[in-house]
Amino acid sequence: MDIDARGPRFSAVITTVVLALALATTSMWLLLAQTLVFAVGAFAGLRYAPYGLVFRFLVRPRLGPPTKFEPEAPPRFAQLVGTIFAAVGVIGYAVGVTGIGIAFTALALAAAFLNAAFDYCLGCQMYLFIRRIWPSSPETPAA
């Protein structure tokens, strides 16, 4: 399924702002909220992603018709990567290791910022990276 390419970009901008606030205030609750937003996009699909809904009903009617479409799978996978990073940060805060909370909020923010400002989908790029180091074919690095 193809989606308006401006949707994920808009969502990345909102995500960047939310994560920047979460990082500056070292707020577990704000990070948790963003984790849930990521998770909805990853597991239910971008159609139900909260920032995507804002884009669809509030922003897109004010813009012209879409000029560029892209497949849904890459940004959706990136939402899953975002979910994992943000969730680790939340767990860090929850168990009292603030450093983990800060570090993983910072990593998630870096990815969202790259996406928003440069259209670079770090989460998408991580897919091949993970597949490379997660061998399903015979490979023995220790040999």
Binding site: P74, A106, L114, G123, C124, L128
Partner: protein, 165 residues
């Protein structure tokens, strides 16, 4: 200043130049890095020693008589589609040029051997399969044609298009 605010500033300072450099290098066709003999991954594959050259057996498809455009794609890759269009167009336009798209996930052997880190990765092969140029990200059509112009001596008149590089 709190640790969170410091971390925020660090992220913005580190990520901004990374993003700018990444964007500038996107789709730029460069000469491949040569580090054939020293690479440990090639030592593990004794029957496939050459990193700088691809054969029809590697590609599972015939090489183009003049040149071959190879694209590594993956499932979660937004610019792969645009890259497919650019390379497909060029291959149809320039005689003797083949276009091969490889699903990186199915060919992790090639991915490791050529050290493909991201998708799309584009390779321009000469008639014997030697990798003459490579790019990550979607290349511009004139750049692809210019790269072919270097491989195919007197064929493409548009090879002057990339003179600015």
């Amino acid at each position: 200043m709190s640790a969170g605010v410091i971390a925020l500033i660090v992220v913005l300072i580190v990520v901004t130049p990374v993003g700018m450099i990444w964007r500038r290098r996107q789709g730029q066709l460069r000469a491949p890095k040569t580090r054939m003999a020293t690479a440990p991954s090639s030592a593990r594959i004794p029957d496939r020693p050459e990193r700088g050259r691809l054969t029809a057996a590697d590609l599972r498809q015939d090489l183009g008589p003049q040149a071959t455009l190879v694209q590594f794609s993956s499932a979660f890759c937004a610019p792969c589609r645009g890259t497919r269009q650019v390379l497909g167009d060029v291959a149809r336009m320039v005689p003797g040029v083949a276009y091969v798209e490889i699903d990186a996930e199915n060919r992790l052997d090639l991915v490791r051997r050529l050290n493909v880190l991201s998708t799309p990765t584009v390779l321009v092969l000469g008639p014997d399969g030697t990798i003459t140029k490579q790019a990550t990200g979607q290349p511009r059509k004139p750049d692809v044609i210019a790269a072919l112009g270097e491989v195919i001596p007197a064929a493409t008149p548009s090879s002057t298009a990339g003179a600015g590089e």
